[in-house]
Each structure stands twice: as structure tokens, then as C-alpha cells.
Symmetry: C2
Subunit: 257 residues, 2 copies
């Protein structure tokens, strides 16, 4: 997929729009912020916006579009109905379809939420000399359900989902400092070192993504994860919502830092 790394964000979005690119966006248009996406009818949008406001670590808002708006401020010329490589359509919390284009579903009362994703601070961690095993092994990051409750807002509530990256003990403090500089994308870790204390029984069995080994000189470090809002929307059995497909984000024109 690496021919997309040097693309401009708008060129990459057009590639998705034409249907020529349907893969994961990791590494695409590399210095630009990518975002998780959630689309809800306006009647659910206040509760969801309030959920994000109350839970900024798992749900850092990049932008919220007006009802019916399809061109984000953060991506002039873009169209959130066509410019992601894949979408998931949910009814009453059940995945009913996976598609490459949502124009046929679009309604004027749909509100789009763009939510920060960890690709931004992963760049900074690697640039700071902290290697990331899942990137080296070209896997998805490992993600786990926890017992850390989110603050509820209306129908939206549930426990936080976290991503885990093994970090050498001597690098942990620096990993905290570097990621803490990115509050718009989950910020500093929510837990370090004892998975059982946040309700994770077995690191080899992530609920989402792929497991990676943890070496003897490393600690597991856990960050709030942008899968949380999607998981919470499923739990709520909200009548209708559309999200990005896992790993297939919206590429914005905003630079990482």
C-alpha cells in the first residue's frame, strides 16, 4: 500500500472516491491527521456529542459537521460519503452491511463526527525513537475491552476500549511525555503495567486487532482507543449509524502537529 504514502490528502481521497483504493489507510498521506468516523441521525447527535465532551480521551473530536453537511472544514473538496475506503452500516447495534460508498443511505439529518486516531501519536513515538512492534510486524494494534467506565450521556455509555503497545521500561516515561503532547488524539496513557487491574485477563486474546509479544524488559502501555465510541454505539442499540470500517479512516488536510 506504500505508493499512497507520498500522496496529498485530496489525491488520496479521490482514489478512494473512485473505488480504486479499498484497503486500510495506515501510512496513507503520511504527515496528515486521519480520523475515525461516526454518523448518526440528528435525534441521537446531542447525546453522542455530549458523550464525546464527557469522554475526551477515547473520543477526541477533530470536527463535527452540521446536519446534512458532507464536506468537512478539515478537508475542503472532500465528501465523507465517498472518501473513505470502507464503511459499516449498523441497525439497532447490529452490523448489517459493509460498503465502499454511502450515498444511497445519506439523509439530510445525518450528523458526522470525526474523531482523532492514534496514528498521529504513533508517528511521534517512532520519531522519538520508540519502536512500535505492531508497525514493525505490519499488524493491527491490539485492542481490549476494560472495566474502566466511560461517563454516560443519554443512551451512550459503557466501558473504555484501549489499545496496547509494549514499551521498554526505560522508554515508558518518554512515551508518556510524547503522547501527552497530543491531547487531540487520546493523549497520555490511561494505564501502565498491570492489565488485570483494568479488567484485561489475557493479553494474548485482544477483542480487536492482533496480539503482539511483550518482552521481559518491556511493560504493556495502554491508551484510550477510538474504537470506544463505535463500541458504545453498538451497546446502545441506536436505531441507525454508519462508521468507518476498522483501519479505514478519513484522511484530513490537517497536519500532525
Amino acid at each position: 500500500m506504500n505508493h499512497t504514502t507520498d500522496m496529498s490528502p485530496d489525491a488520496f481521497r479521490l482514489l478512494c472516491r473512485s473505488g480504486s483504493f479499498t484497503g486500510p489507510t495506515a501510512g496513507a498521506a503520511s504527515p496528515y491527521i486521519q480520523a475515525n468516523m461516526m454518523i448518526l441521525p440528528k435525534e441521537d447527535a446531542f447525546d453522542f456529542l455530549l458523550f464525546c465532551q464527557r469522554n475526551p480521551k477515547p473520543c477526541p473530536l477533530v470536527e463535527v459537521l452540521d446536519p446534512g453537511q458532507v464536506e468537512p472544514h478539515c478537508a475542503p473538496g472532500g465528501d465523507i460519503r465517498t472518501d473513505l475506503p470502507g464503511y459499516r452500516v449498523f441497525e439497532h447495534g447490529r452490523l448489517v452491511r459493509e460498503v465502499n460508498d454511502i450515498r444511497e443511505y445519506w439523509r439530510d439529518d445525518f450528523v458526522t463526527f470525526l474523531i482523532g486516531c492514534s496514528f498521529s501519536f504513533e508517528h511521534a513515538l517512532m520519531a522519538g525513537g520508540i519502536p512500535l512492534r505492531h508497525v514493525e510486524q505490519q499488524r493491527n494494534v491490539a485492542m481490549y475491552k476494560t472495566n474502566i467506565p466511560c461517563r454516560t450521556a443519554g443512551r451512550f455509555g459503557g466501558n473504555m476500549v484501549v489499545s496496547m503497545r509494549p514499551v521498554k521500561s526505560g522508554d515508558v516515561a518518554r512515551a508518556v511525555e510524547i503522547s501527552g503532547r497530543f491531547p487531540q488524539v487520546h493523549g497520555a496513557p490511561v494505564h501502565i503495567g498491570h492489565p488485570e487491574l483494568i479488567g484485561i485477563r489475557d493479553l494474548s486474546q485482544p477483542e480487536f486487532g492482533d496480539a503482539v509479544a511483550i518482552h521481559d524488559d518491556e511493560l504493556p502501555v495502554f491508551w484510550a482507543c477510538g474504537v470506544t465510541p463505535q463500541y458504545v454505539a453498538e451497546l446502545s442499540r441506536t436505531p441507525f449509524c454508519i462508521t468507518h470500517s476498522p483501519g479505514k479512516m478519513f484522511v484530513t488536510d490537517l497536519l500532525n502537529q
Copy 2:
């Protein structure tokens, strides 16, 4: 009013609730965060929450309550219907009543927004050796309408209101650094030095609050002001809203920093 300075926030709120205190809250329960307040029916709450999300400098959210909720998370035991020294009731953008208690108006669909106020960073500025003329002279801070547009959300839009404090030229950089540490209460200044460039014609004629002199060795420094959301709600002619009376804030249990 200075007997209230050493009070605990809940003792001060009870004093307001009993009707014994109806003055401005400057200096009350001194180390605790005070908040501007806006109450709107749920049908307008999404647009207003979106306005705050899009304009965090003038509208830094401290907390948004659930529809019908009267006890904030940031003030256990508190009641936003009785614990402010004064309230203003607006209909279609017109001030129709000023009261000390809003229980008779309360409805289950009312959503309360608590918005950061500049008292928090003023403490820090003074602690940092930067004197504030309006505090020394026991006046209200001077506030001005500008030509700086806020980002619109639904019915809510308009230009930013700013507060102005004269700062010695040699202290301006430090005033920026200190206030920049308080993003939850307006953060760093939005403009320094040339009022005419942001649409202010005459510093001696503030739209709200009281004018103060600017000495030859000082610059006028402008911060985004929490009066902005109230001004924007008036402009929108929203059918019904309730705000705090000017200078009569809600005192929370949260410490300044």
C-alpha cells in the same frame, strides 16, 4: 463582600440558595473555579453544544448537564436553579426578567451549560506579579464586541466578545504564557496591541463592564470572553434561555489548577 472569600464552595452556594447573598461572586470561595451558565431547552442544546465545540476559546466547557439534571458533577449537593446569586431570563433574545431563583421556570428538558470564566487565570496572573487594574479599582473588566467571527452552529453565530486588560509591555509575553496554561478558561490572548484591527474603535467605550486607563508603558491585551455565548444566544433570538446575571457566577468544587 469579602467575608465570602474564605468560604467553602458548598457553604457559599447555600448562602445564595437561602437568598442571603445576591451580589457579584468575584473573590467568593477564592481558590475554586467559577462558571458562566447557559440553560436552553433540549431542542436547541445540540446546536449550542456544537457552537461551544467549534469555539473553545470563548466557550470553554466546564460541564454540560443531562436534560433535566440540576446537580452538577462539579458541585455535589449543588442545585443550579437556586445556587447562583442572580439569573436572567430571555425570550426570543429579549431580557424579560432578572430573578434570584429559577425553580418556577424549570422544565425537564432544560440542558445546563457551565462555561469557564476568566477569574481562574486572573488569579494566576496576579500570583505571577502582573497587576490587574480593574481588580485594583474594584471595577468590572472592560468587554468589547469585535469583528472576529465565531464559527456558526445552527442558529448560533456572531462575532466574539473580548475582555481587555492593560499589561506593561515587558510583562506581555509572561501574561501570554501564564494565561495559555489555562485552556479550560479562554487560554492565551486572541489579540495584543491594536484594537482597531479587531473592530474596536474606542477603548473608553466598552460594550460591557467598565473602562480603565491604559498607561504609556502598557499594551491593551484582549482575551476571548465568556460573555460571547450569551451575546450569541441573544442574537439568535432563541425562544427561551436562562443565563447567570453578569458577574454572578456558579461556584464549583473544582480548584483553579
